[in-house]
């Protein structure tokens, strides 16, 4: 008996040792040790850092509503609780005034605070790890020029067990692959630049990747599309596929969309409008084209999401579509046109629009309920708006009109139910 217990204990010890070894191995960061090179032109470095900070949209999370820029305090909602973005101004007590460029590099490249503690991946270091040391240094140099804001940081408000930071070692072992972007020599420089920006600073996969129960994204499904947790918008897949991706967009259209918030066919809404307004509109022409060419080259990474099967009789369906059509002609056709063509660069086209026909109907539902404006950008400074219909249309009416546009002018997609509409009627914007 004693021998048996000893054997069990030995086995357990081995398992624990193996687990620890795996954690240590999986948490290593092979290219962390990189010396900082002094800039040849400090002014140019700061200007480059300002551009890069824009493209990373740091300000989007690190600024509270109505608060000082980069002073932090905005709650980033996650399924595990709220995480508050930190103060990035050079305030010594609350911000990064006491940091040096090595500390900043370690945060960007390895997701650790100045004191060495693991950062929660609401801060997308899983993407920023791709940055070069020079780019990290440039962003840091820019942040150091900001006016210091005396705004204290707030600890995350996470449920047990997610409030146990040590568990992040396991999370990182599963989902974090540290390492700078490695250029693909077989591809043109512009493609590599696009890949570098998309995978790294742009952190597109923070929204456009499906997330599992632990908030991790699949390493091979980076831009496969998925519901954005807590925000409840569907971020569509980004790839060159004709049916499910961006294959139907010309590169010029895609570049116009990213820079202006509107293209000849589409208008940005929801979180993407925010990203374009605060960040992507500032992309240089060569960078926006680089991103477009990279996205176009990607294969489809996930099968398209499955729509819930309909249990509707033929007559029932016809009645819904008829109601939808009469509502459409009355409320929508003035702008989107009777044949769903919209008005180029003003009102988005609905015929053949994947945002309308996606198996995930959440985005059209939210747009009809809440309306909205595409972002003001240099290319489209005075956008035309869409009225909110939540106050004047019932769930049945919204469901019918969306079902109609999903099945008119050659569109083919599932019928939307009033219950599905109702789910988003009560949700609040953050």
């Amino acid at each position: 008996m004693k021998r048996f217990l000893l054997r069990i204990a030995a086995l357990l010890l081995i398992l624990v040792a193996l687990f620890a070894a795996w954690l240590a191995w999986a948490n290593r960061n092979p290219d962390l040790e990189q010396a900082s090179a002094a800039p040849t032109d400090a002014g140019a470095q700061i200007a480059r850092g300002a551009y890069l900070a824009r493209i990373g949209n740091c300000i989007g999370c690190h600024t509270a509503r109505g608060g000082a820029a980069y002073a932090g305090g905005l709650a980033v909602p996650t399924p595990f609780g709220d995480i508050y973005a930190s103060n990035l101004t050079p305030d010594r007590a609350n911000g990064i005034g006491d940091w040096n460029s090595d500390d900043f590099w370690r945060a960007m490249h390895d997701g650790r605070g100045r004191d060495g503690r693991l950062l929660y991946p609401a801060f997308p270091y899983t993407n920023y790890t791709k940055l070069t040391r020079a780019d990290s240094d440039a962003i840091f140099a820019y942040l150091k020029t900001l006016p210091p804001a005396q705004q204290p940081n707030r600890e995350p408000e996470l449920r047990f067990p997610y409030d146990q930071r040590a568990l992040l070692y396991v999370w990182r072992a599963l989902y974090f692959r540290p390492g700078q972007y490695v250029a693909d020599a077989s591809k043109p420089a512009a493609w590599n630049r696009g890949a570098y920006l998309t995978q790294g600073l742009g952190h597109c996969s923070a929204c456009h990747a499906p997330r599992d129960g632990f908030g991790g994204t699949g390493l091979r499904e980076e831009l496969g599309g998925g519901m954005i947790p807590m925000l409840n918008w569907y971020a569509p897949p980004l790839n060159g596929n004709q049916a499910a991706g961006l294959g139907g967009w010309s590169e010029a259209d895609l570049a116009a969309f990213l820079k202006n918030g509107i293209s000849s066919m589409r208008a940005a809404s929801g979180p993407m409008a925010e990203v374009i307004h605060g960040s992507l509109q500032y992309l240089r022409e060569d960078d926006v084209r680089a991103i477009a060419s990279y996205l176009h080259s990607l294969p489809q990474q996930l099968p398209p999401p499955q729509a819930t099967p309909e249990r509707l009789g033929k007559e029932e369906k016809r009645a819904i579509l008829e109601l939808g059509q009469s509502l459409y002609e009355d409320r929508c056709a003035g702008c989107h046109r009777a044949n769903g063509t919209g008005a180029s660069g003003i009102y988005p086209r609905l015929a053949g629009n994947q945002a309308v026909t996606s198996p995930m109907a959440v985005n059209p539902i939210r747009v009809v309920l809440n309306g909205g404006f595409p972002p003001s950008t240099a290319g489209n400074p005075r956008p035309y708006g869409m009225p909110p219909f939540a106050p004047t249309m019932s769930d049945e009416q919204v469901a019918a009109v969306i079902s109609y546009i999903r099945n008119a002018w050659g569109n083919e997609a599932g019928i939307v139910s009033p219950a599905e509409v109702n789910r988003y009627r009560t949700r609040q914007e953050r």
Partner: protein, 234 residues
Amino acid sequence: MLRPRIAMLCLLLASWRLAHAEAAIPDTIAQRVAACVACHGKEGRAASDGYYPRIAGKPAGYLYHQLLNFRAGKRTYPIMTAMLDNLSDAYLREIAQYFADQHPPYPPPQPPQADAAQLERGRQLVHEGDRSRKLPACVACHGARMTGVAPAIPGLIGLPRDYLLGQIGAWKIGTRHAAAPDCMAQVVDKLSGEDIVAVTAWLAAQAVTGDPAPLPASSVEPPLECGSLQQGAR
């Protein structure tokens, strides 16, 4: 070889005509802000029986700063915030100016929703305030005609009662703020529940007759220090 080409041309022409049969989208600010009138009524006139406030003819500086305040979280109404979040300051200023320049007729007020004693109390507070409580009269800032004062003080009449109640209530519970020092917050702080019932009932029952334009800034000497007046002209 010619015939198919002519047929093709006819087809193209026909489809072009079909596409252009609908009127072109006008390149006007009115068309751009058509989203706003879905709730605020044609030209921003609203109705007297709902919740949504009239925005037509309100001082441009007031409207502009309210738009900024929604964006900055000083006012809370999720649909408004989502509408404005990604619009530039310059565009918001243009939108504010457009609605400030509209002067559609006012709808008649709803029948009073209070008894004679309450209405008299409301009238008194609006016109005289309450000296014993150092409560200034509404007209001391909002103008003798209660139609507001350019460029930053809004009118108080021609608004639905629910909206008036909603706004005073929002100041009371801290979900609406004006620029510091927030003089309106100081006033609301002194108002009791009965005061609020009386003031809103009386204001909502007033018909807008005569000139509804906001008065010039020189016409009032506000008894309190107000941050919104200092920023108003900007």
